[in-house]
Structures are given as C-alpha cells and as structure tokens.
C-alpha cells in the first residue's frame, strides 16, 4: 500500500510539473507575440524554449545571460516585465533580503558580507555595495554575486577569495533552525515535565511525525539497528520539512529557496553518504568490491558499476530535493509573473489573468505543501534505505 502510493507520487508529480511547465511556456509565448518588437520579450521567449525543454540548467543559463544583457543595455524599460530575471533572482541566493518594492524604493534587509582573502577576514554590511552600484574594499556585487575588482574598476576573475557571507539562504536557514530548535526543545521539555502523560497540542503533531518516521521509515528500512540512525533521520526530516514550508511562505521570514539550493542539498546528501559509508559493514563493502556469486573475471566490470552506484545515491538525493523545490518555486513565481506580463500589455488583461493565476497558484501552493512534506519524507526514506543496506546482515554469505 505504502509502496504503491510512493510510486504514484514519484511519477505523478513530475508529470504534472511538466504539463504545467509546457502550459506556462506556451501561454507566455502566445502572450508575447503581439509585442515582438521588444528586446526583453525575445529574451523571455528564449527562456520559454529552454523551459519547455525542461532543462533547468539551460534555463538558468539563458536567464543569466539574458538578464545581463538587459542590465547592461536598455536597463528597465518602462512597463516591461522580465519574468525570467525576476524568477531567477527569487530562487537564487542574495546578499540582501528583498522584502518589497514600493514604487521605485526597495525595502530590503542588508546582510553581513564575510570575505576571506589574502589580506585577512573582511566583514561589512552588504549595504556598502549600494545594490551593486558601488565598489567596497576591492569587491562589488555583480548579478548578486561578489566579485573582486581591480584598481581601475574592471572585474578581476583571477582573484582568490572565499565568500563566507551570511547570504539570504544562510539567514533563512538560521531562522528555520531557530524555529526547529525552539519547537523541538519545547516539545522535549514538555516530555520531561509531563512524564508518561498523554501528549497534547503541538506535542501531538510532532509526536505523530516522530512516530511516523520511526515506525514507517526507520524500522522497516533499517531493521533492528534503526535506533542508532533515528536521531539523524529525524533531524533531516524536520530540517528539510521546516525549510520547505518556510520557503512557501511568500513574505519575510519565508520565501527563501533554501532546500532548492544545491549547496544545501549537497551537504545533506554528503551527511547521508558519510553516515552510510562509516556504518557500512563487511557485507556492504563486500558487495561493492567483491560482488558475491559472480565469477571473478566479471569483477572488473561489476566493481566500477557498484562504485558508481554507491556514489550515485547521494547525487540522486541531492538533485531530487534541489530540483523539486526549485521547480515548485519557479512554477509559483511563473504564475505570478504572468499577471505582470499581461498587466504590462494591458491593465485589464492583467486583471483578468490574475484571477486565473491566483487560482493556479493556490492549487500549486497546495501541491507544494504536499511536495514539501513528500520530499522531506523521500529524502529521509532513501537515507534510511541506504543505512539499511549498509548495516544489513547477509546470512547467505557462507555459500560463497
């Protein structure tokens, strides 16, 4: 029952996203045919072609180049909306937390910049960059990224420095972590105070999730040694879940694309990978480097495949979470962008489209709520499956 559900979701959601993507792209292309003279719109169309190919990398690339061209060239044309740039700005990391734009004035929280280079550690507020217009301490913002600048004002791409800034994602992650610690420690305190009493309120919710992870995820996939991994599984589940949910909140302190950032998912996947590797028993490593039941001649063929399979697991974990969450953000932002794209053509058209957009976005938000839970669950489940394979005892070993 559980397995079949999982399979359905695994195929249903991507299919659904693809359909929505195609719909969104074709709508946009259609909407812009009347304005073919605008340079920006051609750029948007290029985005859509890329989107339609479902190639997010290509899309990101197209967006980036396109945005650059825009920025350097005609700047902000009155009444034109660049959806691609807007979306990419929202899902990418940033050095300030943009809250709202009212008229021409931007309301944003500047975040601290921390740069480690040859001359030491430099810590200052990102407001020193003046929204990318000013150079400070030999650095400036270019497309939201910090780049080194030569004395004559040109960008220096050879300069070696490490950017440890508290970016928007880091700040959002801190907020999520703060919430997570606050809630979980509160719940834990409740348990120590009211020992052996029936749980109530928030405890019920958290406890049902904890028991779900313990009984439906850890126990069946890891086996008798599940208790060792349970703290890690609970931590990744709630960490991902909290960040996913906060990412769906459209205003501060939510809205950041934390779990849709590849660095975050990379670290999570590496944690799972290292825990799997450190706990791998003899039979786990034996299956990789000395596949049992296979002629020794085939080991040359099988061992590389097994190694790739082993390394593939964390990569799949990393990309699945990243792509799912990013795609969700892109779709929701895309629907909202539609309002402004059409609104720029005609105020009434924009108003009309907004009804449709809001309806679709509401629907998508519900779907994203499901995805927020589902991706946290899938990440946890796959991690526990990997742990399970690492600690599983193979009793048929003796025959080989």
């Amino acid at each position: 029952m559980q397995l079949s559900n999982k399979k359905i979701f695994r195929y249903l959601i991507p299919t659904f996203l693809v359909i929505l993507y195609v719909g969104y792209a074709s709508l946009n292309v259609y909407g812009h045919e009347g304005h073919a003279d605008s340079t920006q719109i051609q750029g948007v169309e290029a985005n859509h072609d890329a989107h339609a190919d479902h190639n997010q990398e290509a899309s990101a690339h197209a967006d980036a180049t396109h945005a650059e061209a825009n920025h350097d060239g005609a700047a902000h044309e009155e009444g034109k909306v660049d959806a691609g740039k807007l979306i990419m700005e929202h899902i990418a990391d940033a050095h300030d937390w943009h809250i709202a734009t009212i008229g021409e004035s931007h309301i944003s929280i500047p975040l601290p910049v921390i740069i480690k280079d040859d001359s030491g550690l430099k810590i200052f507020s990102s407001s020193r960059f003046g929204h990318g217009h000013e150079v400070y301490e030999g650095y400036k913002l270019h497309e939201g990224k910090i780049v080194a600048v030569n004395a004559d004002g040109t960008e220096n791409h050879e300069a070696s420095f490490i950017d440890f800034s508290i970016t928007k994602n880091v700040a959002a992650m801190f907020i999520a972590v703060f919430l997570l610690l606050w809630i979980m420690l509160g719940v834990a305190k409740h348990y120590t105070v009211n020992k052996n009493k029936a749980p109530k309120g928030l405890n019920n919710l958290i406890e049902s999730l904890i028991i779900f992870i313990r009984d439906e995820v850890a126990k069946p996939s890891i086996g008798p040694k599940y208790e060792k991994f349970l703290p890690y599984l609970l931590t990744i589940f709630f960490f991902i879940f909290f960040n996913n949910i906060l990412g769906l909140v459209p205003f501060f302190p939510g809205g950041a694309n934390v779990t849709g950032n590849i660095a975050i998912t990379l670290v999570l996947a590496l944690f799972t990978f290292f825990i799997t590797s450190f706990n791998g028993n003899k039979s786990y490593w034996g299956h990789i480097f000395m596949p049992p039941g296979v002629p020794k001649g085939l080991w040359i063929l099988l061992v590389p495949i097994e190694i790739i399979g082993m390394l593939n697991k964390p990569i799949v974990l990393m990309i699945r979470l990243f792509a799912n969450i990013t795609a969700g953000h892109i779709i929701i932002l895309g629907f909202f962008s539609l309002i402004f794209i059409f609104g720029a053509m005609n105020a009434y058209l924009g108003f009309g489209v907004s009804i449709l957009s809001v309806a679709f976005t509401t629907f998508m938000s519900f779907l994203e709520l499901l995805v927020a839970f589902l991706q946290a669950y899938v990440f946890t489940l796959l991690s526990s499956l990997y742990f399970g394979s690492a600690v599983e005892e193979h009793h048929h070993e003796e025959h080989h």
Partner: protein, 164 residues
C-alpha cells in the same frame, strides 16, 4: 549554471549549522522525546498486559470457584447419600434386632409353656398316682369281699375322678 554551482560559503555555513542542529537535537530533543515515547509505550503495554493478566487471573479464580462449588456440591451429595445409607442401615439393623428379640421372646415363651406343660403333666401324674393310692387305700379299708360290690365301688370312684 549559477543555479547548480554550489557556493563554498553556503556549504560552510550549512555544514556548521547542520552539524550543530544534529548535535543539539539528538542530545536535547530526540533523546528525551524518543525515550519518553518508548517509556510511555512500555507503560501502556505493561498496563494492557497487566489488565490481561488480571483478567486471566480472574477467569482462573472464577473457574476455581466453580470447581470448588462443584466439589462442594458433590461432597454434599455424597454426604447425603451416606446419611441415607446409614439411616437405612440403622433402620434395618433395628428391625433385625427387633425381629430377633421377638423371635427370642416367642421361643422363650414356647419354652416356658412347654416346661409348664411338662410340669403340669408331672403334677398330674403325681396327683393321679396319689389319687390311685388314695383310692386303693379306701378300697383296701372297706375290705370288700364282694366282687360286684367291688366293681360298683371302683366304678363309683372312677366317676368321681374327673381329670381336672
């Protein structure tokens, strides 16, 4: 490409934060929560088991009681039966002894009757002998010479002798 290029700073912060979160939550949240959940589950299980045990014990007690009752009933029946037998035995013994007594009495009565009869016969014999002697004496005293007279006399005396 910017989207799929992991930033070093973010990796650093994420690793640091996540390690701390993992440590803090494992030590201060999951451990007490999981422990108390397990304890509660154990206590619920124990309570259920205890209830089950109590139920079983009560069933056992009930069946014990039933058994005792049954036993008591059997015992009572046995006692009643025994008493009945005893009563019958007593009655029959009494009857028998009464019969014996009666028979003995009758026998002794018969015996005494027999002895009385014998005694009476003996007495009669003695009396007859005495009478005969008396009669013979009287006959002898009258010194009869006449035979006819003698005979008339004997007959006359014989008439006067009535056997009782």
């Amino acid at each position: 490409m910017e989207l799929v290029k992991p930033g070093l700073g973010l990796i650093f912060w994420m690793t640091l934060t996540f390690s701390l979160v993992l440590f803090i939550l494992s030590k201060f949240a999951w451990k007490p929560i999981l422990n108390s959940i397990r304890e509660r589950e154990d206590s619920i299980n124990n309570a259920l088991n205890a209830a089950e045990d109590a139920r079983k014990q009560m069933d056992a007690l009930k069946s014990d009681n039933e058994k005792l009752l049954q036993q008591a009933r059997l015992e009572r029946d046995a006692m009643l039966k025994e008493a009945k037998e005893m009563k019958e035995e007593i009655i029959s013994t009494a009857k028998k002894s009464a019969d014996d007594e009666a028979r003995r009495i009758v026998a002794s009565a018969n015996e005494s009757i027999e002895s009385a009869k014998l005694k009476a016969l003996n007495e009669l014999k003695t009396q007859v002998a005495e009478l005969s002697v008396d009669l013979a004496e009287k006959v002898l005293r009258r010194k009869m010479n006449d035979r006819a007279e003698q005979e008339a006399f004997v007959n006359e005396n014989l008439k006067s002798i009535t056997l009782n």
